[in-house]
Amino acid sequence: MSQSEIVVEAIDVQKKYGDQTVLKGIDFVARRGEVTCILGASGGGKSTFLRCINHLETIDGGELFVDGHLVGYRESNGKLYELKERETADRRSRIGMVFQQFNLFSHMSIQDNLVQPQVLVKKRSAAEAKERAQVLLERVGLADKGRAYPRELSGGQQQRAAIARTLAVDPQLILFDEPTSALDPELVSEVLDVMRDLAASGMTMIVVTHEIGFAREVADQIAFFDGGKLLESAPPQQFLTSPSTDRARNFLRRVLS
């Protein structure tokens, strides 16, 4: 599996906000079909790194490749061209993103949340999009909620719908930014179950999470962020049982106790 093709590759990636450097040279690789869980204390730059991958933020140094393309640029005749808005949008549609706050479109029914992106971004017919929306809603256990509005659903249901919406535009890679952190504890597992199924289906996933159990069970690698650096990257067994840095040991002691 570790031989499969590289989907995300970061080389010495840096990101600054003003004069604060929040990513201090990240080297990172994620391969097709792999699940990477990113762990780390608050403020370590985990969200920032995810947002750089789908170009919601622009990096200030280093190189970041997704699917072999430099993020934000198009190569042609040995030159790099900054992407036009339309090209950026195209690239983003291949990278799904699931947010802590779900961010379902609040003025649309759940079904429309899944249909509109397909029509606008994938240029599918409404009928085709509806059919696919229904399939996806069934897949996340919300087949009967198509007509509901986001606020009428529980947090867990909203997050499952948000995952289905992301799937609707057929991403190659899905980024999850603390998908269960805004949920009541009893709703966490229904979302993790959906993510587990997704991982089993071979989806490439990068998941920022505090759910150590999920990481242990599902991740192919764990990346540990701290203070804007990727301090460790290892298979879950190795990372969770014998982390090689003190920071990671301290972090694990705190979250596992």
């Binding site: 919601l56 983003r92 549609s93 609040s106 007509r147 659903l153």
Partner: protein, 295 residues
């Protein structure tokens, strides 16, 4: 800690059998005084020998007055359409990344809001003094042939309105949670799609109430165009009263029609607000059997 133990049994309340309402004398007296005042004022008008009521009723359905009502409504619609479309463009410019666009839009708002509406209307009406011909190359027309009173009025009112509407729309756009934009962007929406399908529809809820105010303000602001003789309601009323000298009566007639128009606009606002109130819909709806609806 164990609070229940310290509560004396006697504190258990008996259900009262009779409710004695508080006598709110202040309210009663205030209400009576206000009502009396209203009655007196109405009587003053109704019984005044200086108001010729039959004339008022005669002119309510007068053809010239009715055509004035039509012009007033037309002008309101035209100026609001111009103001809303241009105002939305200005709001989007104001919020763009491009500093030149931001500067142009804020300067426009500053400039237009600094000049009285009446002055703007007069300016557009007299634009021919400034730009005598319009057109390109061989297609030249005298400006006066294009700038009829209605066109001048629409420009004067609409361009002014755009400055105000842009602020309304901007506030609406700013009210949208950043997460909504990011979700759309990460699904691959282009900026224009994001604005049109996600931001503006959600902003409507914030935009509608103040823009209904703008519509109502506009209905009345159209009366300013009587200075350029645009045949609106007030112009019609005044031209009648200048021949029959029933000044108060015709002002009453005009006022009644303005009241009707603003009332209709307010009712329209109510329905629009309902339509865009998706997020304040009662939760109850979710318990309706959703599967049945899908057939």
């Amino acid at each position: 800690m164990t609070g229940s133990r310290t509560v004396p049994v006697a504190s258990k309340r008996r259900t009262p059998t009779e409710v004695v309402k508080l006598k709110r004398w202040g309210r009663v007296i205030g209400g009576a005084a206000a009502a009396a005042l209203v009655v007196v004022i109405i009587m003053m008008f109704a019984t005044s020998r200086n108001v010729d009521w039959p004339v008022v009723f005669d002119y309510i359905g007068n053809a010239a007055i009715l055509s004035g009502v039509v012009v007033t409504v037309e002008l309101t619609v035209l100026a609001m359409v111009l103001g809303t479309v241009l105002g939305t463009v200005i709001a989007i410019m104001r919020l763009s990344q491009n500093p030149v666009l931001r500067w142009i839009s804020s300067t426009y708002v500053w400039f237009v809001r600094s000049i009285p509406q009446l002055v703007q209307i007069l300016f557009w009406y007299n634009i021919a003094l400034f730009v005598p011909t319009l057109g390109l190359g061989p297609w030249l027309t005298p400006t006066n042939a294009v700038i009829t009173p209605i066109v001048a009025a629409t420009l004067g009112l609409g361009l002014n309105e755009a400055a105000y509407m842009s602020e309304v729309v901007r506030a609406g756009i700013l009210s949208i949670d950043k997460g909504q934009r990011e979700a759309a962007a990460s699904l691959g929406y282009r900026p224009a799609q994001l604005m049109r399908h996600i931001v503006l529809p959600q902003a409507m809820r914030v935009i509608i109430p103040p823009s209904s105010n703008e519509v109502i303000g506009m209905l009345k602001a159209t009366s300013l165009v009587s200075v350029i003789g645009a045949a609106d309601l007030l112009t019609r009323a005044q031209s009648i009263s200048s021949s029959n000298f029933k000044i108060i009566e015709l002002l009453f007639v005009a006022s009644l029609w303005y009241i009707v128009a603003t009332t209709v606009a307010s009712i329209g606002q109510h329905y629009l607000e309902k339509k865009y109130s998706w997020s304040s819909r009662p939760m109850r709806r979710s318990s309706r059997p959703v599967v049945e609806e899908q057939v």
